[in-house]
């Protein structure tokens, strides 16, 4: 891509950031809702730890589990993608035909808009909420093992997670060309990715066979891997391999998405948008 072209798409990133700013009140409330949910989940874990004979569950101490729950809740709100919603709206309001005719890539437009959205969510809400959660876990619950470089590495890891999540969203979002039941599709795809990526519960409490299967899918890189990185429970080797595999998955899902997209677009052309 030429530099001019990148510049053209960065306009969408800026627009994504600005849209986010316009809706910051509402998004703030979603973050608060996610945090309340995380607090309730941590209460549940506390009950479970109190009945456990072991000091750790799935390899996590209680203070680690507490931070896992908080970081995954905040990260979910940070990396959530608007791509599916955008496609659904474009189809519903008949804008899709016009969008496809423009001399810019619809795919890249969605992607770059979402990057702006992610940056806004991370900077305005993610950082303060994560900082607060981390301080509570460290000073209130005696959490150890966090390092500054792991925390810094979390940023690129969450960026890749967001990009995978967005590509996954683009893949499922194309169903908007075929069905009106996108609310159902959305909730289904969120439930599946939420469960398999370790958002609801850490993957280490899954049976070993399931963990092996999941490690061959992109799901852990959407949530589990960045959160574990943040908690400092991954070896350096693991971190390096994970980054490489995550990027490979990002490319792979985008290729699949692009192939599906070609048939989807044909459908739009046939029906005239």
């Amino acid at each position: 891509m030429r530099r001019g072209a990148i510049k053209r798409y960065l306009i969408f990133t800026k627009a994504g950031f600005q849209t986010l700013m316009a809706y910051r009140g509402r998004i703030f409330l979603w973050f608060v809702g996610a945090l309340i949910s995380a607090v309730l989940m941590s209460l549940l874990w506390r009950a479970i730890y109190s009945f456990s004979d072991e000091p750790t569950i799935g390899g996590y101490t209680y203070s680690q589990m507490l931070l896992y729950v908080i970081v995954s809740a905040v990260m979910f709100e940070v990396t959530v993608s608007d791509t599916m919603g955008a496609i659904v709206d474009d189809v519903r309001y008949g804008q899709i035909g016009m969008r496809l005719m423009k001399p810019i890539s619809y795919r890249l437009q969605l992607c770059f808009t979402n990057i702006g959205n992610y940056l806004g969510r991370l900077l305005i809400f993610g950082v303060p909420f994560m900082t607060a959660g981390t301080l509570i876990a460290v000073y209130g619950f005696g959490l150890t093992g966090l390092t500054w470089y792991n925390i810094l590495l979390f940023i690129p890891a969450s960026f890749i997670a967001m990009m995978i999540n967005e590509a996954y969203d683009f893949l499922f979002g194309q169903l908007a060309f075929r069905t009106h039941a996108m609310f159902g599709v959305n909730s289904m795809s969120m439930t599946i990715s939420g469960f398999l990526s370790g958002r609801m519960i850490p993957l280490s409490v899954f049976p070993v066979w399931a963990q092996k299967v999941l490690n061959c899918t992109p799901f852990p890189f959407m949530m589990s891997m960045p959160v574990r990185l943040y908690l400092g429970v991954m070896s350096t080797n693991d971190v390096l391999i994970s980054f490489a595999v995550a990027i490979a998955w990002l490319i792979a899902i985008n290729i699949i998405g692009q192939l599906c997209y070609k048939t989807s677009v044909r459908k739009v052309v046939v029906f005239g948008g």
Binding site: G25, L29, I36, L40, L43, I48, I57, V205
Partner: protein, 263 residues
């Protein structure tokens, strides 16, 4: 009230027939709700699997509790799904106007227009799970216990509806009522866990403030511990009456200050 009851079948039939053109969509919705619930059950299985039991709660007992919580939730979902629209959209965008010019309760007209049959997916999942795990849950089943549990489920429907209407009605005052409703509604998901072991503060909230614990968790707890479940029926009834009264009062206060849109 009589007119509303007499008209309801008409509304249901209209809603069903207008949904016919979107039949495939409804089926997708149904499957998606069912999958969501199965995943929730798997989550419970994995969490409980990390310890032998959480006090009195083993996996079959929790699964039975989970199935029970789905029943009132699903039935409320089938009848009053439109309340979500009220919270997120309708009040702020003046969509009640048309209903308010007709000589019939506007809330009834608004809610009755959608009969969400795809909620049956959740209901079936709930009942099936109860049937599978009921015998393994370590409950001494009696006819009285079954009747009481059914009563609790029925009262639970009204509790759900009351909570939804209450938080949807704050849209008359508050801009983001939908998100508040969403947050509160999500708390109901935690009533399928051992509420009593999750801290005194949380248990008190779940019993006395947002009483999901009272009408979802408590009846099953009574069955499991062998306590008198009729107390749960009584408390569910109290919760239903209080919540519905509160919700309808807030709705009435709100409708008086309804601003329509774009005066």
């Amino acid at each position: 009230m009589l007119k509303e009851l007499k008209l309801y079948p008409k509304y249901v039939s209209m809603s069903l027939r207008s949904g016919l053109s979107y039949k495939a969509d409804s089926i997708i919705m149904m499957i998606s709700f069912a999958i969501t619930e199965v995943v929730s059950l798997a989550t419970i299985y994995l969490i409980v699997g990390t310890v032998p039991a959480i006090g009195i709660w083993t996996f079959p007992t929790l699964a039975f509790l989970f199935g029970f919580t789905l029943v009132p939730k699903a039935i409320d979902h089938i009848f009053t799904d439109e309340l979500w629209l009220l919270a997120y959209w309708a009040i702020r965008h003046g969509e009640l106007d048309i209903f308010m010019t007709r000589p019939l309760n506007p809330l009834y007209q608004f809610v009755a227009q959608t009969f969400k049959w795809d909620g049956i997916g959740e209901l079936v999942v709930g009942v099936v799970i109860m049937c599978i795990f009921g015998p393994q849950a370590g409950i001494a089943w009696t006819a009285g216990g079954v009747i009481a549990l059914i009563l609790c489920a029925v009262l639970g429907i009204f509790c759900f509806t009351g909570i939804k209407l209450l938080f949807a009605s704050i849209a008359f005052w508050v801009k983001y009522a939908g998100i508040f409703l969403n947050t509160v509604y999500d708390i109901s998901n935690y009533a399928k866990y051992p509420v009593r072991y999750m801290g005194k503060a949380f248990a008190s909230i779940m019993f006395f403030v947002i009483p999901f614990g009272l009408f979802l968790y408590y009846p099953v707890e009574c069955l499991v511990t062998g306590a008198n479940i009729w107390w749960a029926v009584l408390w569910s009834a109290v919760a239903a009456v209080v919540l519905m009264t509160l919700a309808l009062t807030v709705w009435r206060l709100g409708i008086r200050r309804y601003e329509s849109a774009g005066n």
